[in-house]
């Protein structure tokens, strides 16, 4: 766990009511592993038990938030609570369905819908920009 709960900016022009930026625990971990422990992304992803694309996303989010806090003079809070890791997403090459693997310790072998064995790992499913497949 991090040694501090967060950071507060100081300076005469400071907006006292600036909203805190909340850094999730996994973002703190990702940032620390890369930029303090000097691990590469692959090694850090393995330690966090997430896929490399997921790790890259968590790390990028951490850096954005830290930069936001510094650039806008906003307090930075490290959320110490629940440790949450995003699950990996896969796609079935036969039926085309997307599915996640909620238990990272289990390896997906087949599609939970049709049972087909040809499945592939994908980048995080984009929930906000829907592209429907045509039939």
């Amino acid at each position: 766990m991090p040694a501090v709960k967060g950071f507060r900016p100081y300076g005469p022009e400071l907006d006292k009511n600036a909203e805190a930026v909340v850094l999730h625990f996994e973002e703190y971990e990702a940032f620390k592993m890369c930029d303090y422990d000097n691990l590469n992304h692959l090694a850090a992803a393995k330690l966090m038990q997430v896929s490399r694309p997921t790790f890259t996303r968590i790390y990028a989010s951490a850096r954005n938030k830290i930069a936001l806090s510094m650039a806008e003079g906003r307090p930075l809070e490290i959320e110490g609570g629940e440790v949450y890791f995003e699950s990996n997403w896969l796609q079935c090459l036969l039926c085309g369905s997307y599915f996640n693997q909620p238990h990272p310790e289990e390896v997906a072998e087949d599609c939970p819908l049709c049972g087909h064995h040809q499945i592939q790992q994908i980048e995080q499913l984009d929930f906000t920009n829907l592209q429907y497949d045509s039939l």
Binding site: S97, F99, P102, H103, P112, L113
Partner: protein, 111 residues
């Protein structure tokens, strides 16, 4: 194992609903007993957190996996925490019956 499918209507001929939280009905299928239940979604009209409330309700019914055309972005962390699987079918013309047939076929192939 129980699977909940978001449905636009209360028969198996209806199509998958693309809106998980606000779907009209949930078809709950038990892969082990082959039992089917069609339940109306109590959170259909909810203005807030319909998806999250539906997930909690379905989990309390023993559902371990959810099927819909789409899910809101806030749902995934909750499901990861609860160990529930999401299956996203981005083919709006898929009927509930087609999905159940796939699940049955898979179950038989494994047994």
């Amino acid at each position: 194992m129980k699977v909940a499918i978001a449905s636009k209507g209360n028969t198996l001929d209806h199509l998958i609903d693309l809106q998980f939280g606000h779907c009209a009905f949930f078809v709950i299928y038990d892969k082990d007993t082959n039992e089917l239940q069609i339940r109306s979604n109590p959170f259909k009209e909810a203005t807030e957190q319909a998806g999250i409330r539906a997930v909690k309700w379905l989990a309390s019914e023993g559902v371990k996996s959810l099927i819909a055309g789409d899910f809101g972005p806030k749902i995934q962390p909750l499901l990861d925490q609860m160990g529930i699987q999401l299956i996203v079918i981005r083919k709006p013309e898929t009927s509930i019956q087609q999905i159940i047939n796939l699940l049955k076929q898979k179950h038989h192939a494994k047994a």
